[in-house]
C-alpha cells in the first residue's frame, strides 16, 4: 500500500536493496552523474555545450576518481571481513598483492627480461587474469581462515599482520614473479582481447574513439545530446572501473541480506552464541575470508594494471592500514560508509594540496580578511611562521605531505573516539533526527 513505509507484507519488500523511491532515485542520480563525468568534456545539448562537473573530466581528476573506484573494491572486501564478519585483518595488502601478481603472471608479457633476470608472463587476456586474480587470492584466504577460528581480535590482527611480512620476504625471493625489490615489474594493461590477438578488441590504454556502447547511446540520443566522438585514455579507464565497482557494490550490498551475510553478522556479534543457533563458526569465517580476499585480489590486479608498474614494497603495511582507515572513517559494516570512506581517504591529499596552494596564493596576493586569517596558517617564507608551508626551501611548518599524514592520523583517532560509525554514522544521526521528528524516540 502506498504511503505506508513501515508496512511490509513480504520479506522481499522488507529486505529490498532500495526500499523507498527516494533511495532509488538518489542511487540512479549518483550513477548517472558518475557516468556523465568522463563524457563531460563536451556534451552538446542542442546548441549549447554542457559540462556536468566539468573540472572532474580533467585527466588528473579522472585518475583520482579511478583510484577511488579501485580502492572502493578493496575496502568493500575488507568491510565484509572486518565490518560485517568482525574479523580484524591487517593482511589486506597481502591479498591485494596476490591478486596483482596473479594478474602479472597470467596477463604479463611473454618472455620479458627484468633487472633480476627473466620474468614470468603468459600473455592471457583480461577476462582470464582479472577473475583469476580474485580466485587465487580467495584460495589463499581460505588457507588463512582456519587461524581465525583459533584466535580472535587483537591476536587475529597480529596473525594477519604476519602475512604482510611473509609477503615481503616472498616478493624479494620470487623475483621472476615480482621483478624483485626496488625494481618491480610491468603489469598487463586494460586491453580487452578475445585471446592473444595483436590488436585488442577494446584498448583502454590509448586515447581514441568512444566505446561501442557510448556510440550506441550517442546514436539513440543523437537528436538531443551529442557525446564526444573521441575519449581520453583516462575517461575510458574510469568508465571501465566504474562498471566493475558498481557490480561489486551491488554484490556486497546484496551479501548482507543473504543467509551467508547474516551468518557473518551473527559471528561478529557473538561467535559462540551464533554457533549455538546453528551458524557454523569455521564455515562462516572461511567464507568471509574467501569473499574478502576475492575482492582484495581483484582490487590488487586493477590497481596494478591501472598504475602499470609497481615495486613489491607498494604492498606494505601502510596499504593495509590505508584500507582499514577507509572502512573505519566511512563506517565499518556498511556499504555506503565504505564508499564514503574510500572517497574521503583518496581525495583528502588532493584536497589538502589544492587548498594549501589556494591559501598560499591568497596570502601572497595579500589583501582582504581571508589573506589575513590565512597568514596564520600558511608560512610563505623563512621568517614567516605557519602551520603549512608550500614554499620551497627551509621554511617553518609542515609540508603538504606531512600535513596529510598528520590529518590522516588525527582523523582516525577522532573518528574512533567520537564517531565509531564513521561518516555514515553522522548521516545516520542526521537521518534519525528527522525520522523521529517531532519526537526524539
Amino acid at each position: 500500500m502506498r504511503g505506508r513505509p513501515n508496512l511490509y507484507v513480504s520479506y522481499e519488500a522488507e529486505q529490498s536493496l532500495l526500499p523507498t523511491w527516494t533511495q532509488r532515485i538518489a542511487a540512479t542520480l549518483v550513477v548517472l552523474v558518475l557516468v556523465l563525468i568522463p563524457l563531460g568534456g563536451g556534451l552538446e545539448v542542442g546548441e549549447s555545450s554542457f559540462r556536468p562537473l566539468g573540472f572532474l573530466a580533467d585527466a588528473d581528476w579522472l585518475k583520482i576518481l579511478t583510484q577511488v573506484g579501485i580502492f572502493a573494491v578493496a575496502a568493500l572486501g575488507l568491510n565484509i571481513l572486518t565490518g560485517v564478519a568482525g574479523q580484524v585483518s591487517l593482511g589486506h595488502a597481502f591479498f591485494m598483492a596476490i591478486g596483482a601478481y596473479t594478474a602479472a603472471v597470467l596477463g604479463g608479457e611473454v618472455g620479458a627480461e627484468g633487472f633480476f633476470g627473466p620474468r614470468w608472463g603468459m600473455g592471457l587476456p583480461i577476462w582470464i587474469w582479472l577473475p583469476a586474480a580474485g580466485i587465487i587470492a580467495a584460495l589463499i584466504g581460505m588457507l588463512v581462515a582456519p587461524t581465525a577460528v583459533r584466535v580472535r581480535g587483537l591476536y587475529l590482527a597480529f596473525v594477519t599482520l604476519g602475512l604482510v611480512f611473509i609477503g615481503e620476504w616472498a616478493y624479494r625471493t620470487f623475483v621472476s614473479i615480482t621483478g624483485g625489490s626496488q625494481s618491480g615489474r610491468e603489469f598487463p594493461g586494460f586491453e580487452i582481447r578475445l585471446w592473444k590477438e595483436e590488436t585488442p578488441l577494446l584498448d583502454l590504454t590509448r586515447d581514441g574513439p568512444s566505446w561501442l556502447v557510448v556510440n550506441w547511446v550517442d546514436w539513440l540520443l543523437g537528436p538531443w545530446i551529442n557525446f564526444p566522438d573521441e575519449m581520453s585514455e583516462e575517461a575510458k579507464t574510469f568508465l571501465f572501473v566504474l562498471i566493475l565497482a558498481v557490480v561489486f557494490v551491488v554484490l556486497a550490498k546484496n551479501l548482507q541480506r543473504t543467509r551467508i551475510g547474516r551468518s557473518f553478522m551473527a559471528i561478529r556479534d557473538r561467535d559462540i552464541a551464533a554457533e549455538i543457533m546453528g551458524v557454523g563458526d569455521a564455515k562462516a569465517k572461511l567464507q568471509a575470508f574467501a569473499i574478502s580476499s576475492f575482492y582484495a585480489g581483484v582490487a590488487g590486479a586493477l590497481f596494478a594494471a591501472f598504475v602499470g608498474r609497481l615495486i613489491p614494497e607498494s604492498f606494505n603495511l601502510f596499504l593495509s592500514v590505508q584500507v582499514l582507515a577507509m572502512i573505519l572513517i566511512g563506517g565499518a559494516g556498511t556499504v555506503a560508509g565504505t564508499l564514503l570512506g574510500s572517497s574521503f581517504v583518496i581525495l583528502l591529499p588532493r584536497l589538502v594540496r589544492d587548498f594549501s596552494s589556494w591559501l598560499t596564493e591568497t596570502v601572497e596576493e595579500g589583501s582582504g580578511v581571508l589573506a589575513w586569517v590565512g597568514d596564520f596558517f600558511v608560512s610563505t617564507g623563512q621568517d614567516d611562521w605557519g602551520l603549512v608551508s608550500t614554499a620551497s626551501g627551509l621554511t617553518p611548518g609542515l609540508s603538504v605531505a606531512q600535513l596529510n599524514a598528520v590529518l590522516y592520523g588525527a582523523l582516525i583517532i577522532v573518528f574512533l573516539i567520537f564517531e565509531p560509525l564513521g561518516l555514515y554514522g553522522i548521516w545516520i544521526r542526521i537521518r534519525n533526527y528527522w525520522k523521529g521528528w517531532p519526537f526524539t524516540y
Binding site: M1, R4, P438
Partner: protein, 623 residues
Amino acid sequence: MTTTVEKPESPQTGSGAPTVASRIRDWAQQRPDSVVMREKDYGVWQEKSWSQLWDEILTASHGLLALGVDARDVVSIHSEDRPEWVILDIAAVAIRAITTGLYPTNPTAEVEYLVNDSGAKVHLAEDQEQVDKVLEVDRSRFPNLKTILYVEPRGVGSYDDDRLMFWNDFMELGRRHRVEHPGAVEARMAEAEATDVMTLVYTSGTTGPPKGAMLTNANAEYCMEHLINADDRLAGNEKPTPDDQILTYLPLCHVAERIFSTWTLASNGTVLNFAESIETVQHNLAEIQPTLFFAVPRIWEKIHATVVIKLSDATWAKRQVGKVCMKMASAIGKARVASGGRHTLASRLLYAIGNPLYFRALKERIGLRRCRWAASGAAPIAPEVLEFFMGLGIPVYELYGMTENAAVATCNFDGRVKLGTVGEPYPGIGFRIDEETGEVQTKHPGVFVGYWNKPEKTAETFTEDGWLKTGDVAEWVDGTHVKIVDRMKDIIIGSGGKNISPSEIENSLKTSPFIKEAMIVGDRRKFITALIGIELDTVGDWATRRGIPYTTYRDLSEKPEVIELVQGIINQTNDKFSRVEGIKKFRMIPKELDHEDGELTATQKLKRSAMTDMFGDLVESMY
C-alpha cells in the same frame, strides 16, 4: 482512496435474508483477488484475499456441520482478535448458528458461566491459557459443550481430552465434509431469515452477572444501513470503501469492535488489519496508518499521554519548535470546536503552515496520518482530549450506543460536532429522552430481541410502550445534540441535593497523563472524595527524572511527592467544577486495577460496587 465500488446487491434467492455471511460471499465474488485481511505473523503482514477468506469460511462452516452444529446452536469464541475469530464467527452465521465472544481476560469462573449460559456446543479457545480455563472445570459441569477448538497448538498437544481439536484438523474435517456434502452450506444460507439470531453479545455487567443480548440478522442490517452508512458520518459525506484500512485491536466480542471491523467489512468491503496485541497497538498503528479508527477513551487518553510525554522528552530544538506548534494546534482546536468541527479561515491558514512542518509528521508517528474518520465511544471521554486531536487535524467524533440497540443511537456528524455531547440521533430512528427521568430510550429495527434465556430481564429493559430503556441519563443541548449525564444508577446526590455526575469529574482527572483510574465517591455523603490510581509508566518516568527511588506500584503511589503531584492535578480539576463538585479529599489506590481481580469489567470499566467493597476502609478513612 476515492475509489467507489458498488455495494453488492443482497441476494434474493430463496428466502435467504441478507446476512454478514452472504454479504462477504458477494464481495468475494466481486473482488476475489483483492486483499481483505492482514495479520502480522513472523514479522510481516501476511495478506488474505476475499476468495481465500470466503473459501476458509465455507470450509469452517462445513466443519461446524460435521461437528453437528445446527441452526440456533451456539458457538463460543474465546480468543484475541485474529482471522480465525472472524472466520468462525461468519461460518457460524452462514449455517444459521449463533456466535458469542468471550473476552480474553475472562477468568475461569466467568468462562464457565458464559459457556453454560449460552449453551455453546463448540468453543474456540485460542491457546493453552484459554484451553486451561475450560479444562480446569470438571467436564460434567459443561453439559452442552462437545468440542473445544484451539488455534495455537503450543502446550496443548500433550493434553488428553477427547473434546479438544486442533484448528487445522477442524478445517480438514470441513474439507472432507465439503467434498461429501457439496452445497450444504449454501443451502443453509438460502434458508436464512432476517429474524435469525446471529450473535449473543454479553453485556459487561457492572451489576450482576452478564446477560447475552440477542442480535438478529435484521439488527445487523439495520446497523449497517443507519450507522455504518449514515450520511455525513465521514467527511464529505463519503462512505467506507474497500480502500479503507481498519486496525482491529479491541475485543471482537464487544459490539463496537464487531460493528467497526467485521460488519463494516461485510457491508462496505473494508480491509481488516489485525494488531499483534493490545500492547503493540501504537506500533501497529504506525505501520498500518488506518483510515478509519475507532477507539475507546482509554486508548485516546493513552495516545494523548504518549504525545505529551514524548514531546517533553524531545531534544531542546525539537522542544522549542514543539512549543510553538502545539500552541498553533491548540488555537486550531479551539477554533474548530467553536465552529462544530469545521475549519475557520484562520484555523485553515494555521493548519496549512503547521501541517507540512509538524502535524503531519506527528500524526505519522502516532499512526493517524491517513485517518479520515476517528471516533470515541463505549465510555465518556474528556472534551480536552478531543480538542487536542482536533487541533492536530484528526477530528475525533464521539458517538453513543449500546449493545441492546446495535449501537444505533447518536453520533457527532461531520461539521456539526459539539464537544461534550455524543452528537445527534441518527436520522429516522426512534430516539427520545424521557421527560421525567431523563433516561435515553430508543425504538427502531436495530433494537435487540431480548436477553438469551432471560425473558424477565428482557421485560425489565423495555417500557410499556415498547421503547428500550438504556439506563443512561441525558439532556438535550441546543435542541439537537445529546449530552449524556451519566449512568442512571451512578449519579451522586450531593450534600446540597444537587445531582453530580461522577464520570464527568473522573474523566477530567484522567486527562492528566499521570492518572489512570479515578473513582468519585460521595453519594449521600457530606462532601466529594476520590480514589486515584496512577499511571505506572508516566509517574514512574516522572519519579525517575526527579531522582525519587521507588520499588513497587504501591510504594510509588504512596510517595509524598507523588501525592503532591496528584493534589496539584486535583486542584486544577476542582477549578473547572462548582464548589459542591470539588474533591475535598483523596486516597491513592494501592494496586493496579484489573479484570481478573474483579475491579474492572472486561471492557475495563470500573465496577463501582466491587471497588466499594474492596477499598471501603480507604473510603471511610476520608470521612
